[in-house]
Symmetry: C2
Amino acid sequence: MTDGALREPTFLILTALAARPQHGYGILLDVEEISEGRVKLRAGTLYTALDRLSADGWVAVDREQVVDGRLRRYYRLTDEGAARLEIEVQRLRSQTRAAERRLRLRPAGGTA
Amino acid sequence: MTDGALREPTFLILTALAARPQHGYGILLDVEEISEGRVKLRAGTLYTALDRLSADGWVAVDREQVVDGRLRRYYRLTDEGAARLEIEVQRLRSQTRAAERRLRLRPAGGTA
DNA sequence: CGGTATATACCGATCATCGGAGCATTGCAA
DNA sequence: TTGCAATGCTCCGATGATCGGTATATACCG
């Protein structure tokens, strides 16, 4: 659980759920917004990830609604999931700091 | 080249090379240090990644030495590789900020 | 004499993600 | 009224970075 790095889609899905529960399609749109349009999740990626994250106990089904004959399944971040996301944020912070520090040390105008 | 997210090992390899050229085994040790002991690269991962990054033009062979009858192949980060790493750092910064913002909005004591 | 450190190479397995197709409903535009 | 986009979930094969392990070789330590 404190294991390896999360992949970008997984990280963004957890982030999308951090503030409030959302249903699949809502997560899809939110991830696109969070990533400033860079990441457009495939439906398969999203629902597969949601199943996996549920099995891991990081997200859970919050409730289900039917709106206009279409099912909406809402997911929420569990406390465990929030803890995992916080660990991930720490890891990313520390590693981006290391990368910046080293980039600054880089001798300018290296031979490409 | 401005594409998807880098995986953690790839990011750390580029970071290890950001300040100065290093040979494979040196990168292996450096990555472990940068990641505070969390990431111990498999030899296969490292050399495969180095080949791939060379093909992408992000790293290049700097020089080769023979020390104690053992080959040392030094790699350096190219300007293109440094630019890619900087983009990655920006991306990570923006996404960690988003995650932190949302975690702060999270209603405390949610049902686990 | 055996194990650990140094150093690189190669190989099959794993698994998250990609890229698509499929199904069903609503609403808008041609 | 036909067609296409948006909404919403499901399933499937392909891809590719990483993992885990093996191999090879030298040097040094106990």
